[in-house]
Amino acid sequence: MAEEKTLQVEKEEAALEEGAEWTRDRRIFIPRADIYETGDKMVIVLDVPGSKEEDIDITLEKDILTIMAQVNADEFPGHTPLYAEYEVGDYQRSFKLPDELNRDKIEAAYKEGILKLFLPKADKAKIKKIDIKAG
């Protein structure tokens, strides 16, 4: 089992092809993720603080599941920024799904800065398990 990590503040920026630019005037970070598997599904948990439910786009193209969460920068009229330790930016991350997942029944839930994706496994009937015979 993967080890539990301590709380971290650093954000990792998403990579972009050389020469290309993002269209939005802000940085794009890779959200931290926990991925676990239970008997009948796989769950992806992503940290996307600051994003709203309606600003999260989840798309599946072929085997690639992409999560894009927009975050609108804080704006406080009459206030000036004095000190900044973290930067507000969008989040983007893609995962290649294993074949055993049912692509039609992916569900997502958002709560307090956490996006959870539930990816049910395909029916057992569809997956053929091959036993290894003893020599």
């Binding site: 089992m1 993967a2 080890e3 539990e4 990590k5 301590t6 709380l7 971290q8 503040v9 650093e10 931290r32 993720a33 926990d34 991925i35 676990y36 598997e37 239970t38 008997g39 796989m42 948990v45 940290d47 996307v48 603080p49 600051g50 994003s51 709203k52 804080d74 406080f76 009459g78 206030h79 000036t80 920024p81 004095l82 000190y83 900044a84 330790e85 973290y86 930067e87 307090e112 800065g113 956490i114």
Partner: protein
């Protein structure tokens, strides 16, 4: 902690990256106890004549687990990100989100009216508004014409 402007030009971004790389190199040679971890949570501070606004990203922390206190000119934020309870047969593929307890105090530049401090927690972001004490507010002084 790195002071950084909100919108950093690309040169600074590269410098930051270099600094991080260097830190990583040095840290990998130092004993475990000496490695410096940046304080959690990271905070942004906004100011106006009326007071301060402090924001912090706390994904996965429930609002009931956040504790705030203001004593004189010190703001303390503490809380805990509780690890998710999984069913027994669950197996992690990857674990990047940290969890555990945290406490952080910051020194404020002026006395705060503790009775008027307000905090909200939305979408995993904490907002604390800290109004300046009335008697501590800057007074405008008129220059008399001699």
């Amino acid at each position: 902690m790195i002071y950084r402007r909100l919108r950093t030009p690309s040169m600074w971004r590269d410098m930051d990256r270099m600094q991080r790389e260097m830190n990583r190199v040095f840290e990998s040679y130092s004993p475990r106890g000496l490695r410096s971890a940046p304080a959690y949570p990271a905070m942004n501070v906004w100011g106006s004549e009326e007071g301060l606004l402090v924001t912090a990203e706390l994904p996965g922390v429930s609002s009931k687990d956040i504790e705030l206190s203001v004593v004189n000119e010190t703001l303390t934020v503490s809380g805990e990100r509780v690890p998710e309870e999984l069913v027994e047969e669950a197996r992690y593929h990857r674990r990047e989100c940290g969890c555990g307890k945290f406490t952080r105090s910051i020194q404020l530049p002026f006395a705060v009216d503790a009775s008027k401090v307000e905090a909200s927690f939305k979408n995993g972001v904490l907002h604390v508004s800290l109004p300046r004490k009335a008697e501590d507010k800057p007074r405008k002084i008129k220059v008399k014409v001699g």
